[in-house]
Structure formats: structure tokens, C-alpha cells
């Protein structure tokens, strides 16, 4: 008896694997056929295999609770999410284009601000951006790259269109889970990998290393690269340790580093101080240097910005790169791409209404019940209004806030995210998902992960894919052939 009931599978949106008639899409045919043949016992065995693999490999994420810090096993669904290679190549080109333009934009903002002078980007947006760092003005990081590592969230609407939902240019996380998901999935579904149509993902640590090495100010010597973590209490500590281990570099904390009077960065080792060339920092801007930013920070290194400004060390991502990932700047990305590259955006933005523009604000205020309203500089879903789920009182409150500070708000239509078949407590169900690919910029070339991290909302109907709030993840397969 087959345990996965595909016949009863229904999606309320576009489905990644199943077509409307209930048959699998061409790129998912092999997978669905394989899973259909498994008995209930076999499916349970696969789930157990995955759980054990996750436990043994020690894939965890950290949650805070009253009882202290808990390392929880990573929630993983064995049914992968599949994207045809041809479609992925278009997305890849779009992501490259986007990040190239964003780096030019950030570099421009910290130098001549041509885009402001040319009237394409409003000066008042810049002056009110909380992520613009005046300390970075005039600094020229190697090769003009500020956002070396970018995690952009892609979503698909119910008509099948792929959109960029947001760009994370500060310290995007999740790539280690992408790599570990593949390891788990190879153990669970080895038969499907034998055909060789699923493209590999494990090149990322080597690509990351090469990109970081290319940023080294001392090109003649073998560069000393480190990963800088806020420490064991950070929720992404697993990933920091994982990437350091995979690249074979030191995992340092702020207290391991010191800036000398020669404005060079050294790490304290058993052989004495050893010069550091490149820091892949996973500490927020405001905490990396108490001399330049938050004076109370104990996570940072005094003088780090001084050393960076002097060109003695590369910081990845560069401080100040976050200026380009606020929600209002997001709305300008298509214009930014056109301005710097003279091209149209290959991947569309979700249509956005800027409350600072009179006509658009009027539309937003008249349609609050249909829109999602987001503040410019909050992340993680804080301070948002989800129109269709809001109360009259909430909408009144938001209308007042928007009128008081229109520049701080933008709005988007409520998307119906695509779904994918997921094994849930009560059997197979359609669950909403997104995708976070990672883009590495080394100046002369750009690398995009093959797929990325697929996050899935395990709760029926939920759009929240966050692992701390009932989200899970899936392996992401980019497959050759089997085009729609």
C-alpha cells in the first residue's frame, strides 16, 4: 500500500511540483514516481534516516528560552523542491545583474552620489536611512565591492511569476543549511541522484574562500582569512563554525583580534600576533568597532574601521552595505539597475507603492485592507501591517503612522506564495515556501549558488518560513532536462 496519497493533493496557489490537473510537472515526474512506489514503512524509514543524519551531523539552530540556550535539530522535509535548470539560469542571470547594480549603487552613495545628483534617487531617503554609515564615506573597498555576500529572497506568486522579495546585504545566513540539506537528501534519496541530472551545490565553501582571498590587500602573500562570530550565543553560531571549518580558516571572536598602532589587524595566536588580511564578519555593523560605532560593544575590535579605511584589511560584507537593503530602497532597485547598467531588471520586484509619493500614498491609504505595509528599516517582519488579516483599528493606526512619516513606509499587494508537497503530521500537504539563493561578488566575477535554501512554512496556510517560528526547510534541486 502506498503511503503518500498524491491523488488527494490540492494546492490553493501555484504549486512547484504538481500541475493543476493533479499530475506532476515534467521536472518532478521522476521524484513523484519514486515516492509513489514507497510503502508507509519505507517512507517512515526515510524520515528516520533523515532525522538520524541531522542528529549525527549535529545540524542545529539555536533558540533562546527561559531554560537558556537550546540547540534544536534542524526541521527538514525529505521531499525536495525542484526547479528546472533552464528556469534557474534565468534567475541566476537576474540575481547577478541585481547584485552588480546594488554594489555600484552603494559605492556611489559613499562617494559622488551621482544617482542622487541626477535625480534618480531622492536625497531625503538617503539622509533618513538608518543604515547609511557616514563613517564609510570616501572609503574605497577592494574592487569597489561592498556586498560580497548577498542573500536575496525569491518568491513565486500564484500565477507562477518569480519575484525578488528582498535583498539581504548585511550578514545573510542560511547557506550552511543549504549545504547540509543536500547531504541529508543524498542519504535519503540516493537513487534519484544516480541519474546525474541534479546539479551539485557543494562548491560554495571553495567559491566563498576564493572570493574572500581575492579581497586580500596583500596579494603577494597567501592571505590570512578569518570568520568573525559574535560567539556561541548567536543563533547562527553553527553556521559560523561550519563555514570556518569548511574553508579551513580560523573562527575568531572580537577579543581574538587586535589593531596595532600600525593600523593593521592581528589575531592572538600561540605563536604571537599574526596579521589578518580578510575578515568575513558575521557581527552587525554597529558592533564591529567600539571606536567607530557603538562604544559599548564588547563583540567588536577597537580600531577595525581605522584599519579598513587604511586599506590594511578587507571586511566582508563591508560596513555600510546595509544602506541598500531597506524596504524603501528596494522599490528603487529596478531604477537602480537601469541607471547603472542601462538594462531592464531580469527578475521583477514585487510591485511596490512608496508612501512618500503623493499618488501612491493615496492608493495605499485607500487600499490598506488589501496591502502589506512595511516600514523601511525593520527586518524579520516587525512593524508590518498585513492588510487582509488586520483589524479596523490597526488600519486606522497605520494610516496615521503613514501620514506622519510617509518616507518610512512602502506597501505591496498581498502575494499568494507558491506551494510545494510537504510531508506533514497528517500526511501530504501543500505548504508555502520561498527560496534564498546566495550571491558572491568578487569584482571580476559573480557566483550564484545552485538553487539556494528553500524554507517552507510547516503550518497549513502559514506564510512564515522562519525556523524559529515553525518553519522548516527542504533540499533544493536544480535539474537538467524535464522542462515545463
Amino acid at each position: 500500500m502506498a503511503s503518500i496519497d498524491w491523488s488527494g493533493y490540492r494546492s490553493t496557489s501555484y504549486d512547484e511540483l504538481m500541475a493543476d490537473g493533479g499530475a506532476p510537472r515534467p521536472h518532478a515526474a521522476d521524484l513523484v514516481q519514486h515516492l509513489s512506489k514507497l510503502s508507509e514503512a519505507e517512507v517512515n524509514e526515510l524520515k528516520t534516516t533523515a532525522e538520524i543524519a541531522i542528529q549525527v551531523m549535529g545540524i542545529t539552530f539555536t533558540v533562546y528560552s527561559d531554560a537558556g540556550m537550546i540547540d534544536r535539530a534542524w526541521p527538514f522535509d525529505i521531499i525536495p523542491r525542484i526547479i528546472p535548470a533552464a528556469e534557474w539560469r534565468r534567475a541566476e542571470a537576474g540575481l547577478e545583474q541585481r547584485v552588480r547594480a546594488l554594489n555600484l549603487f552603494i559605492d556611489d552613495l559613499y562617494h559622488d552620489q551621482r544617482i542622487v545628483k541626477d535625480g534618480v534617487f531622492p536625497a531625503e531617503l538617503l539622509s533618513e536611512s538608518v543604515n547609511f554609515r557616514p563613517q564609510c564615506v570616501g572609503i574605497s573597498p577592494p574592487k569597489g565591492i561592498w556586498a560580497h555576500i548577498c542573500g536575496s529572497d525569491l518568491v513565486r506568486d500564484k500565477d507562477g511569476t518569480l519575484y525578488v522579495l528582498e535583498d539581504n546585504l548585511r550578514i545573510p545566513s542560511g547557506v550552511s543549511y543549504m549545504l547540509e540539506n543536500r547531504n541529508v537528501s543524498k542519504r535519503v534519496l540516493p537513487e534519484l541522484f544516480e541519474g546525474g541530472r541534479i546539479l551539485p551545490v557543494d562548491d560554495y565553501p571553495a567559491q566563498l574562500y576564493d572570493m574572500l582571498a581575492a579581497m586580500s590587500p596583500r596579494q603577494e602573500a597567501e592571505p590570512r582569512i578569518v570568520v568573525m562570530t559574535p560567539g556561541i550565543f548567536n543563533s547562527a553560531y553553527f553556521e559560523h563554525a561550519f563555514l570556518a571549518q569548511q574553508m579551513g580558516v580560523e573562527l575568531v571572536e572580537g577579543s581574538d583580534l587586535i589593531v596595532g598602532s600600525d593600523d593593521k589587524v592581528y589575531m592572538r595566536t600561540i605563536d604571537g600576533l599574526s596579521q589578518v588580511d580578510v575578515i568575513y564578519r558575521r557581527v552587525d555593523d554597529l558592533f564591529i568597532d567600539p571606536e567607530a560605532f557603538n562604544p559599548d560593544s564588547v563583540l567588536g575590535v577597537r580600531g577595525l574601521i581605522r584599519a579598513w579605511r587604511a586599506g590594511n584589511v578587507a571586511l566582508c560584507n563591508a560596513p555600510g552595505a546595509g544602506v541598500a537593503d531597506d524596504k524603501v530602497v528596494y522599490a528603487f532597485v529596478p531604477k537602480i539597475i537601469r541607471y547603472y547598467l542601462g538594462e531592464d531588471a531580469l527578475i521583477p520586484n514585487v510591485p511596490s507603492y512608496l508612501c512618500m509619493v503623493d499618488a501612491e500614498r493615496e492608493y495605499v491609504l485607500a487600499n490598506l485592507d488589501k496591502l502589506v505595509v512595511k516600514p523601511a528599516n525593520e527586518s524579520g517582519g516587525y512593524g508590518m501591517l498585513v492588510g487582509p488579516h488586520s483589524t479596523e483599528a490597526q488600519r486606522r493606526e497605520f494610516a496615521a503612522r503613514i501620514k506622519a512619516n510617509p518616507r518610512n513606509y512602502m506597501a505591496q499587494p498581498t502575494l499568494t506564495l507558491s506551494t510545494t508537497p510537504t510531508l506533514c503530521e497528517d500526511g501530504l500537504g501543500a505548504r508555502h515556501l520561498d527560496l534564498r539563493p546566495f550571491i558572491l561578488s568578487a569584482g571580476d566575477h559573480t557566483y550564484v549558488t545552485t538553487g539556494g535554501l528553500t524554507r517552507v512554512a510547516l503550518v497549513k496556510g502559514s506564510l512564515v518560513v522562519n525556523s524559529s517560528q515553525g518553519g522548516g526547510s527542504k533540499d533544493t534541486w536544480i535539474v537538467e532536462g524535464g522542462e515545463d
Binding site: G58, G231, I232, A241, A244, Q245, E250, L251, V252, E253, S255, D256, I258, V259, G260, S261, D262, K264, Y266, M267, R268, T269, I270, D271, G272, L273, Q275, R302, G303
Partner: protein, 320 residues
């Protein structure tokens, strides 16, 4: 290797050794007490003296009886040297340096700590005490075995070894100190009853009885035991051997001059000791051991200053 990582591994190894040696000490004391229930001077109270934490104990417990001493030394979280606390500290030190150690070592320490912690709720029943202590000793030995068998001969292993040898030397002096205070005759005519068996307990605390018999081939006598524990060149828990092993590890590390000189100084002082005289006078032995412990503190300081502080480097004049 980062100084911080080296320091964490050093302390991990020290705490692990402390947990094991504490379990050894308890195990032998228990056997001795079963044989000689009426020997008050040798009682459980002397174990508290060994730890050097009399005050802390007195502030938490009213009586120095078996139950209190065991609770204090095995499972008391308030006492940093209890088996549970020491394993917890070893685990925390490894937790932040997991990326340099083979995964199995983390799993083993984690498991051992959790298992010992499970006894907190129920306490340790008297008839299960020996099983508990053996489990701790075995767990620590397993971890040391994993380090020996799976960790490359690089800096990580060296700092584990340094921590282990120094803690071992220190614990050996503590065992010798307290036991001998009760055992050595104040005058040659003044024989303690069961002296032979009690000296044997010193050896057994160190798992040294068999090795001692192979080396000395005579009945167990105070002077011979003191000599063996202080000066034996081959027994791994003899203080001379611990210091000698430390020197060997230092030799493989850069910038070892201070730590090496400091340790060689202690080792030579140990060799020069007049064991016959020490064995004849508890006060002199006690003073000598105090001197050794101060010396171990100096060795620790030289290790920390050389490899953990990281500022006396070949490099730049520092701004701070």
C-alpha cells in the same frame, strides 16, 4: 592556533582530569572506609581538605559525613571542583572550540556530562556509588583515548596534553599531602595502626599499586611510597613524570623558553629532594608539597603569559 582556542582546550583537559582524579579519590576512600569504618582521622572529612575548599563546604553543609562529602564532591553545582561542575566546565570549554576537535570527542563529553547530571534528581544511592564513580573514570578515559587516537599531533593535542599533565601533577600532590598528614609518624616509635594498608590507599588513589609493586618489590612503606609518587620516572601519575611529559610537549611548541625553564626548575627541585627526610617528617613533607603547588601555579602563569595572552608577540607596538 588562536590563543583563546588553546586556552579553552587547556582548561577542558584540566577539568576532565580533575573530574577523573576526584572520582578515583572517592572510590579508594570508600573502599578504605568499608574496611576501617572506625578510623576517624582518615574519614570523609579529609577529602574536603584535599580540595582546599573547606570554607565553601562549611558554608553549605553542617556535617562532614559521607552523604555530605559525596554530595559536595560529586554533584554540587556550587562547588566548581565537583565532578558535575568539572565535567560541565570541560564541556563549556570544548563547546566554543568544537570546530578544532573531532566530533566524537564532543559527543562523548556531552554524553558524560548529561549522564552525570541525570543523577542530580535522584542522588547517588550508596550501593550504586561504585558504579557511578567507575562510569565517570571510564568516561574520562574514553575521552582521553579519543584524543590519543583521533586528534592529530598538532597544537590542539599539545594544549590538551599540557592541561592534563599539569592538573594530574597537582591532584597527585593533593592526594599525597592529605593522606600523608595522617599517616606519617610524628616520631619513629609512634606507629599508626594499619599503616601499611593506608599507604596502599595512597597508591590505589593513583591506580599506582601494581606499578609500585613492580618497581619496589617490597612491602609498602612510607618512604618508598613518597619516593615513588614524587620521583618515579615512568609512572604516568608520578609528579616527576608529569613534569617531564610537560617539558616534552613544550619542546614541540614555539616560544617555550619561559614555560620550559620554569618546569625544569620544578622537576630538578623534585629530584633533589631528600625523600628519606620528607618521609620521616610530616611537616617537612607538607612544606615541600606546598612549594610544589606554588611551583605549579608558576608553570601555569608562564603557560598563560606565553601562549594565551598573545601580546608579547614578534610584532607591533600596540596602541593600548
Amino acid at each position: 592556533m588562536l590563543s583563546r582556542v588553546a586556552e579553552n582546550l587547556y582548561w577542558m583537559a584540566r577539568y576532565l582530569e580533575r573530574a577523573e582524579d576526584t572520582a578515583r579519590l572517592l572510590r579508594v576512600t570508600r573502599h578504605l572506609m568499608l574496611d576501617y569504618p572506625g578510623t576517624p582521622t582518615l574519614g570523609w572529612a579529609s577529602l574536603i581538605t584535599i580540595t582546599g575548599d573547606d570554607e565553601l563546604f562549611s558554608s553549605h553543609y553542617d556535617r562532614r559525613d559521607e552523604a555530605s562529602v559525596l554530595a559536595f564532591l560529586c554533584l554540587d553545582r556550587a562547588y566548581g571542583g565537583s565532578i558535575l561542575s568539572a565535567l560541565g566546565a570541560a564541556r563549556e570549554n570544548l563547546r566554543t572550540t568544537r570546530e578544532v576537535m573531532p566530533r566524537e570527542i564532543w559527543e562523548e563529553i556531552n554524553q558524560l556530562y548529561l549522564t552525570v547530571g541525570n543523577y542530580l534528581a535522584s542522588g547517588i544511592a550508596q550501593r550504586r556509588l561504585d558504579d557511578f564513580l567507575r562510569m565517570v573514570i571510564r568516561g574520562c578515559q574514553t575521552i582521553n583515548g579519543l584524543i590519543e587516537g583521533t586528534l592529530s599531533h598538532g597544537p590542539a593535542r599539545r594544549f590538551c596534553n599540557i592541561g592534563r599533565e599539569l592538573e594530574r601533577a597537582d591532584m597527585t600532590t593533593r592526594i599525597l599531602d592529605v593522606r600523608s598528614a595522617n599517616l606519617l609518624p610524628r616520631s619513629p616509635e609512634d606507629r599508626t595502626p594499619f599503616e601499611n594498608l593506608q599507604w596502599m590507599s595512597v597508591l590505589k588513589s593513583l591506580s599506582a599499586h601494581q606499578m609500585y609493586r613492580q618497581r619496589v618489590r617490597a612491602r609498602v612503606r612510607g618512604a618508598d611510597v613518597v619516593r615513588f609518587v614524587l620521583q618515579d620516572t615512568d609512572f604516568p601519575r608520578a609528579i616527576y613524570r608529569c613534569l617531564d611529559d610537560l617539558c616534552r610537549v613544550f619542546q614541540s611548541l614555539g616560544r617555550h623558553d619561559n614555560a620550559m625553564n620554569c618546569t625544569l626548575g620544578q622537576r630538578d627541585a623534585l629530584l633533589a629532594a631528600d625523600v628519606g627526610r620528607l618521609a620521616a617528617s610530616p611537616d617537612e613533607l607538607n612544606a615541600f608539597i606546598d612549594g610544589l603547588q606554588v611551583g605549579f601555579g608558576a608553570i601555569h602563569q608562564s603557560i598563560a603569559a606565553t601562549w594565551f595572552a598573545g601580546v608579547d608577540a614578534p610584532a607591533p607596538v600596540l596602541s593600548d
